[in-house]
């Protein structure tokens, strides 16, 4: 049996007709047309499919679209409605990514962290993105950029390298 659901995606209302087995990741990519959530492992290990569900990061490959009827979803496309966020600007400036496949997931995980802890430690940044696998960078450039964004926004002096 099919279900009619309504998702609020990046501040737009999306009425959708889905089968119970339709996975949120596939619905976002194939129906809503958002390609920033990536299909990586599709079993919860890599974090490439990360989206914000009611402001918390989740793995959209492990969620059925019917489960989130009526909920709010934000992807990277909806993050900075008027341009890049401060975090994204730092990531660009510091060339933090290489291929970029992990980037949407990493950006959302770091966004969630900075919303809760505006002035995180290096450890906290590492923990926040521990579930986002990156095959290219070795992570150091990403962590540096997240810390730089945090410092810029809190105006704190550079106390950490």
């Amino acid at each position: 049996m099919r279900h009619t659901i309504t998702l609020r995606v990046n501040d737009e209302v999306w009425p959708l007709d889905v089968a119970p087995s339709d996975v949120l990741l596939d619905v976002l990519r194939g129906r809503v047309g958002l390609t920033s959530p990536k299909a990586g492992c599709e079993r919860g290990d890599c974090g490439a499919c990360t989206v914000l569900l009611d402001q918390r990061t989740v793995r959209s490959c492990l969620i059925l679209a019917v489960e989130v009827d009526g909920h709010e979803i934000v992807t990277v496309e909806g993050l900075g409605m008027d341009g890049l966020t401060a975090l994204q600007e730092r990531l660009v400036e510091l060339s933090a990514f290489q291929c970029g496949y992990c980037a949407p997931g990493v950006i959302l995980s770091a966004t969630e962290l900075l919303a809760e802890a505006p002035d995180p430690t290096r450890e906290e940044v590492q923990e926040a993105i521990a579930g986002n696998l990156c095959r290219c960078t070795g992570y150091a450039s990403i962590v540096d950029a997240v810390l730089a964004a945090a410092r810029a926004s809190t105006g704190a002096a550079a106390q950490e390298v």
Partner: protein, 296 residues
């Protein structure tokens, strides 16, 4: 990659309704909470349910609070809910330490503590810690409500004492009466990895009363009672710890799989038991490592 399965989905809004729908169901109906195990198993074709009963529309099942001397963890409470809970932070530092080590934020935001012990994989993280805390699992079902002590809960890999038609409504954990120390050591290849390769939980109460449990090194999480008896009453002098470590090979039965060899798991259990006993004892005395310092 999609799920090729003809699946029905219902989302009842009361526990009574959920129980009613589950009671008459055949074995191909499954309960869905956070879904981090269920959906992964669906995708891997490990399970082929024809119907899912999603509990997430039922209000009031995600509380983490003290009720009548026990910590009450509702069946929809996630590991992130546990980490954000004041009673957990204040009185259950070992639970907090465990929750922080479960997979990664994106999983912890969705995965439930109750789901973790219901899917009951041998490596489940909540199992060993709940064993050391003498947790009780509360179910509702056709035969009414039941309270099952956690040491009778795990029956085998992915098998529990739950009966047909029953739903776990919550867990309770008695608030330790005395100041206690705890430690959870978890072996994984990378930070953020979902499954532990081996784990050890230790809880110590005044008078050096120890409780010790292992995960991922037997068919299910298990209490190590011989080690507890050996440690009982006698602090952590080098000789006693050596003797306790010698007992590990009698208590656990690790296997070799794609993630680690049996030998490596056994050796690491010995190392982790030593570290966890020392850490928990130190923490009880107020001079151990901080709870957010990982032991492995």
């Amino acid at each position: 990659m999609t799920i090729a399965l003809d699946l029905a989905y219902v989302a009842p809004t009361s526990l009574e309704d959920a129980l009613g729908q589950f009671a008459g169901a055949d074995g191909s109906t499954m309960i869905l909470a956070g879904g981090t195990d269920v959906i992964a198993m669906l995708r891997d074709d490990v399970i082929q349910p024809t119907r899912l009963i999603d509990l997430k529309r039922i209000p009031g099942l995600s509380s983490v609070e003290i009720r009548e001397g026990s910590l009450h963890i509702g069946c929809l409470a996630t590991f992130s809910d546990l980490l954000a809970s004041d009673p957990v932070q204040d009185r259950f530092p070992g639970l907090e330490e465990m929750a922080r080590l479960v997979a990664s934020v994106g999983i912890r935001n969705r995965a439930t503590v109750v789901g973790n012990i219901c899917s009951a994989v041998p490596s489940c993280d909540a199992g060993p810690v709940l064993l050391t805390h003498d947790a009780v699992i509360h179910t509702a079902g056709p035969a009414g409500e039941r309270a099952i002590p956690i040491d009778q809960w795990f029956v085998g890999p992915r098998r529990t004492a739950i009966e047909d038609g029953e739903i776990v409504t919550h867990l309770t954990i008695p608030v330790p009466r005395y100041h206690h120390g705890a430690a959870y050591a978890r072996l994984s290849r990378t930070r953020g990895e979902d499954l532990a390769q081996a784990s050890v939980a230790v809880l110590v109460e005044p008078g050096y009363r120890y409780r010790v449990a292992f995960g991922a090194v037997a068919a299910s999480a298990l209490r190590a009672r011989r080690i507890e008896t050996l440690l009982a009453g006698s602090g952590v002098d080098a000789e006693t710890i050596d003797a306790a470590v010698d007992l590990v090979r009698d208590e656990v039965a690790p296997i070799t799989d794609v993630r680690a060899t049996a030998r490596y798991r056994l050796r690491m259990c010995e190392v982790m038991l030593r570290r966890a006993v020392i850490a928990a004892t130190g923490r009880a005395a107020g001079d151990g490592p901080r709870y957010d310092v990982t032991l492995v």
